[in-house]
Symmetry: C2
Subunit: 106 residues, 2 copies
């Protein structure tokens, strides 16, 4: 995949996107664009606290935006992928494709 | 990728393998089987402490084995992928392939 003296391509992985929970959130949002907190929590089998902390990181990095509202009398938080979030996810996917194709050739 | 009521496939990602540094270590070892500490450190652009901590996790999970020795008068630590480590890496790759193909279809 790389010469010994060069950095390995995976050294470029962006932890703000690659981390398991955050990657799950971004992958779901890439498919449906906007999701509410409960949907993400159930789909990724997380606690409120865990999802909340990872959403905070995603917001700080500009990958998602939150919108508070209410529906059927309940307060809800909607999470939406930003254009930058989509670009960052696609960069991750490009790196993962290199990894997959290299390892599958073994 | 999944119906709203089902867990998303990425909920199954194994953090002992998926974490950025550990995935890098396993990917390098999958290619060259055994590498020394310095090679991994340089290839993944890590500090001693950071690499050491992640190797500890990989050993605890049975993904790699360490071997201490010396070469050219210097003490060296060699890191080798275990059969279980290779299987865990391949499970990760299978999940990443699902992710990549789903996102590329968007």
């Amino acid at each position: 995949m790389t010469a010994p003296s060069e950095p390995h391509p995976l050294a470029r992985l962006d932890e703000s996107v690659h981390q398991r929970t955050r990657l799950g959130v971004l992958a779901i949002l890439a498919e449906i664009n906007e999701a509410d907190f409960s949907h993400l929590k159930n789909a990724l089998q997380l606690t409120d606290g865990n999802l909340g902390r990872h959403l905070e990181v995603l917001v700080q990095h500009g990958h998602v935006e939150l919108r508070k509202g209410s529906s059927a009398g309940r307060r809800r938080t909607w999470v939406r992928l930003t254009p930058q979030g989509r670009r960052s996810l696609m960069s991750e996917v490009e790196l993962l494709k290199v990894l997959v194709s290299t390892l599958e050739a073994k």
